[in-house]
């Protein structure tokens, strides 16, 4: 299964190589044209029958959040820093894999027995260590370099109505892009399926795609926060599992294009695909970058709701995943999504 394979690959921001290789192999033969740019973005283009200068950019990011080795302790343990937004509270006791050879380790923290008032405050990054069993700094240095990536060890699981795993944000989007590329009927305009790097550390990769392509508009497929948890009041939940793809209208740094938003909602209704409006406006996506790059590309956004996002074990709904895929395919083939840009 593509989603499982993609999520189990390790690829924190800046370390997307293996994800890119996997996608490249998978889309061989589906796309008419495949390019990789200098920063590492991969773009698979499906040529249109009569593009007349029009093209659609569909985007998902390949990177996931993770950690990076910053130093060694005398006893061979490692200090680390986050790559992207990682809540230190989700880390203690979790298994990780370190470096290119994916050597096993675990994230350590003070045992509950020894905690007093610190029990109620999140662990500080300076106190979090990764234990790999070396016992000695010199031995650890032989196997682990400063700057090595640390990824969550989190095998994919299929549950009755859910998928459980890491990196749904945004390998879920990557998998759906591949499926749309595979299944789409020919359309008039070119469709560029872009798999981009370094989203999680500040939308750094996506802008470079516009150096090669000047699309009419963009559609971003993302994983987004669910937040349907008891500690939050229902009124403040961002999205709710099983209610369908979440549609964005405002996010960090960008109000999504109102013309594109209308087409997204209209397309979902027309195809009877369930959807929900996002309940919060926090968090950004590459749409914010594309609108600010060169002469500016307007964008819309559809999202797979994810519980426990940015943690070693996130949960998405099978139905939401399928329905986001259906909506994406319908939008990719909907000429209106490009035509509204002219009005």
């Amino acid at each position: 299964m593509d989603l499982q394979a993609l999520c189990e690959i390790n690829g924190a921001s800046g370390n997307e190589e293996k994800v890119r290789e996997w996608i490249q192999n998978r889309v061989q033969g589906m796309a008419d044209h495949l390019t990789q740019d200098p920063v590492g973005n991969l773009v698979a283009t499906k040529r249109g029958k009569n593009p007349a200068g029009k093209s659609l950019l569909v985007m998902a990011h390949m990177d996931e959040v993770g950690l990076m080795v910053t130093g060694y302790e005398e006893d061979g343990r490692l200090s680390v820093m986050p790559v992207g937004g990682v809540d230190p509270r989700v880390l203690p006791g979790k298994k990780v894999v370190v470096g290119k050879d994916a050597l096993p380790g675990v994230i350590g923290y003070k045992a509950i027995h020894l905690q007093r008032e610190d029990f109620s405050t999140p662990p500080k990054w300076e106190n979090i260590r990764v234990e790999m069993g070396f016992g000695k700094k010199e031995d650890c240095k032989k196997k682990v370099k400063i700057g090595d990536y640390v990824h969550f060890y989190s095998p994919f699981e299929e549950l009755p109505r859910r998928f459980l795993g890491k990196a749904f944000d945004d390998r879920g989007g990557c998998a759906l892009l591949i499926h749309a590329l595979e299944k789409m009927s020919p359309v008039d305009y070119d469709v560029h399926f872009a798999f981009v790097v370094q989203e999680e550390i500040g939308l750094r990769g996506s802008g470079a795609v516009l150096k090669q392509f000047r699309p009419t508009c963009a559609l971003i497929v993302e994983g987004t926060t669910a937040g349907d948890n008891p500690e939050l009041e229902k009124a403040r939940w961002s999205t709710i599992l099983d209610q369908g793809p979440a549609i964005s209208y405002l996010q960090g740094g960008y109000a999504l294009d109102t013309r594109l938003l209308d087409v997204i909602l209209g397309t979902a209704r027309e195809h009877a695909i369930p959807f929900q409006m996002k309940g919060r406006t926090v968090g950004g996506t590459d749409a914010s970058r594309l609108a600010r790059t060169y002469s500016g590309i307007p964008g819309g956004g559809i999202n797979i709701p994810s519980r426990y996002i940015h943690s070693p074990a996130s949960v998405i709904s099978k139905k939401d995943y399928e329905n986001t895929g259906k909506l994406l395919l319908a939008l990719v083939q909907n000429k209106k999504y490009l035509d509204v840009m002219e009005g």
């Binding site: 009419t216 508009c217 009041e233 009124a235 403040r236 549609i247 209208y249 405002l250 960090g252 740094g253 960008y254 109000a255 999504l256 294009d257 109102t258 938003l261 409006m277 996002k278 309940g279 919060r280 406006t281 914010s288 609108a291 600010r292 790059t293 060169y294 002469s295 500016g296 590309i297 307007p298 840009m341």
Partner: protein, 338 residues
């Protein structure tokens, strides 16, 4: 004329990303005084008047067409609305004010199940404890009137208080009115003048990051409101007074104005005996920051209008500062000796 233009523009509800209504009004105001206009892909309205020189310089004037606002994030079982801010809206400012989503006004109020909780919420206002009441009798009733994802703004009126003009969205409709007046008064001149009524400034300088990419202007001047230091116990480290003239920005948190543009504004003001102030703003930013890093970079600066109660429903500017900004910019765009 100026007052009426400003009155018409501030009356329009057009928050970030939803600027079309105000842009249409701006185009009407400019009828007959521009050579052309276009909307760029992200929605910036660009207008221009061609220069008569053999190699005309290009001067770009920017005023952002968007204003701060709110967006509906959820409609509850009883038809009350939950909202998030569009741009910088302090929830404290909203308490007791009226807002508007389309044709439907709403009252902003805070939750609190006990008087202690209510006082706590008054002390620590946030969007988590704030709701909007549009008078709906049920969820269905509310959903027939408004929808999740709909943007809204303050309800407020335009007031003339002595020399002051007060209304919502002086930030940055006052700049839109200034640019309109500059074009209205523009005689045939050497330079090509662009007016950009940009989008989404309030959510993070979106429009100005891209508006000039295909224009390649020689200079870009953003026009925006700035803070004041002339009300009781306000910013003592700055000197910005209403009625003492528009302010030539030297620096804020987002950009340092190009020295050439500071000189151009200063010398033009002096030559024409137009009052002005210099401005170093300790916080904030304007679209100049977006233009500055567009393409290979554009020399950029800001001319500001001192404003009280910025981002409230009652932003106050001094009539003479607005008029002097128009005089100054009209002289600046006509100059080609730089």
């Amino acid at each position: 004329m100026l007052k009426e233009t400003l009155q018409r523009l501030t009356a329009i509800s057009a928050p970030s990303g939803r600027e079309k209504p105000v842009q249409q009004a701006i185009l009407q105001e400019l009828e007959g005084v521009i050579d052309g206009h276009r909307l760029d892909p992200v929605g910036n309205l660009v207008v221009w008047k061609e220069g008569k020189g053999t190699h005309p310089k290009k001067i770009l004037l920017d005023g952002h067409s968007d204003e701060i606002g709110l967006v509906i994030t959820r409609i509850d079982e009883k038809g009350f609305l939950r909202v998030d801010p569009v741009g910088g809206v302090n929830p404290l400012t909203l308490l007791g004010t009226m807002v508007r989503f389309g044709d439907y006004p709403g009252v902003v109020a805070f939750e609190g199940e006990t008087s202690e909780e209510l006082s706590k919420n008054f002390k620590h206002p946030s969007y988590d404890i704030l709701f909007v009441d549009i008078g709906a009798t049920s969820k269905e009733d509310a959903e027939n009137k408004v929808q999740v994802g709909q943007f809204g703004t303050y309800v407020s009126s335009f007031w003339e208080m002595g020399p002051m003009w007060v209304s919502k969205s002086q930030d940055d409709r006052v700049a839109c009115a200034i640019i309109i007046e500059v074009f209205r008064g523009l005689k045939a001149c050497e330079n090509t003048v662009y007016g950009v009524f940009s989008v989404q400034e309030e959510v993070g300088l979106v429009g100005s990051s891209v508006a000039a990419f295909d224009i390649h202007p020689d200079i870009a001047i953003a026009i925006d409101v700035t803070a004041n230091s002339d009300t009781p116990k306000t910013f003592k480290r700055m000197d910005l007074q209403l009625g003492k003239g528009p302010t030539i920005k030297i620096k804020d948190r987002a950009s340092i104005s190009d020295a050439k543009i500071v000189d151009l504004l200063e010398s033009t003001a002096k030559q024409n005996q137009i009052p002005f102030q210099f401005e170093v703003l300790l916080f904030g930013g304007t679209n100049a920051a977006g233009y500055q890093v567009t393409g290979p970079g554009i020399p950029s600066g800001t001319l500001s209008i001192p404003c009280r109660y910025v981002h409230s429903p009652h932003e106050m500017v001094h009539q003479s500062d607005v008029e002097n900004a128009i005089r100054l910019l009209s002289k600046v765009v006509a100059r080609s000796d730089w």
